[in-house]
């Protein structure tokens, strides 16, 4: 396993509640959730940098909407 480093993360109360909620919902520790989020974000950024567009599709209506990512 790659060596790990520790950092302090400053979050608002609401952000911390959301982090704890998502971690519990996904069965992950907060560290594991942040790691997953980083990977997902890198994946999105890579596609956008290649000129791709990111869409979400309504599974019931089969409608697609472009996801705006900063």
């Amino acid at each position: 396993m790659a060596a790990k480093r520790t950092m302090t993360l400053n979050l608002s109360d609401q952000e911390m509640v959301m982090l704890e909620h998502l971690a519990e919902e996904k069965g992950l520790s907060k560290t594991q959730l942040v790691r997953q989020a980083l990977r997902l974000y890198q994946s999105v950024v890579d596609r956008l940098e290649r000129g791709d567009k990111l869409y979400v599709e309504d599974s019931k209506k089969a409608e697609k909407a472009e996801l705006m990512v900063l």
């Binding site: 069965g27 992950l28 520790s29 890198q42």
Partner: protein
């Protein structure tokens, strides 16, 4: 930095176990082996194929997978990991996994999982390609590595993948749950998933 682990593989021709090394990530020598050792006999075999059924039986559907291109595009990425099995001085298996995926089975829907993008054994290890396959257990070794990664990442062994038609039966035999043809997949492949319980059972049985 490249990491490695050692495992025994059965050489079916000698009947003896040999020490294989599982590496992450894939290195240049592995994609070199794919192009110089795997592809030539596959291309030669393809030239003799007469129809689709024979193609599927010969286990050649991954012949043009772009391992080098993907290795270069996905290096230094956290959302991809690659693995290679080496034994007898040659690459015996290759795998790419995506570390961010989400489950589809109702019992674990939307929980994170490891998605196996590409997994392949050298053609001389395949039952369909040759009547005398060399090493036994390359596929299970790679599948086990994906399960271990899933466990280490806190994903409880959950795995997902789309199977080539030639490999569907093999994934059924491993105990993966079949969710039918995925019409959203570019090649409309059948999607399979390991639940946590399935993965635990698989590891216990191997």
């Amino acid at each position: 930095m490249r990491e490695s682990w050692e495992f025994p593989l059965l050489n079916r021709q000698t009947g003896k176990e040999e020490l294989a090394t599982l590496y992450t990530p894939i290195a240049d020598n592995n994609v070199d082996d794919f192009e110089s050792l795997w592809q030539p006999p596959m291309i030669a075999r393809l030239a003799t194929i007469k129809d689709h059924d024979e193609l599927q039986a010969a286990s050649l559907q991954d012949i043009y997978w772009k391992w080098r291109e993907k290795q270069q595009a996905r290096s230094n990425r956290f959302d991809w990991m690659s693995f290679a099995v080496e034994c007898g001085g040659e690459t015996q298996g290759l795998m790419f996994v995506r570390t961010v995926g989400f489950a589809r089975i109702d019992s674990q829907r939307n929980l994170p999982l490891i998605y196996i993008d590409l997994i392949s054994a050298a053609p001389w290890n395949r039952n369909g390609f040759t009547d005398t396959p060399l090493y036994k257990g390359v596929g299970p070794l790679l599948l086990g590595a994906a399960i271990s990664l899933s466990v280490n990442e806190g994903l409880d062994g959950r795995l997902g993948l789309h199977a080539l038609p030639q490999s569907e039966d093999w994934y059924r035999q491993q105990g993966m749950t079949e969710l039918g043809t995925d019409t959203a997949h570019p090649e409309s492949l059948v999607y399979f998933e390991f639940t946590s319980a399935d993965a635990q059972a698989y590891v216990s049985s191997t």
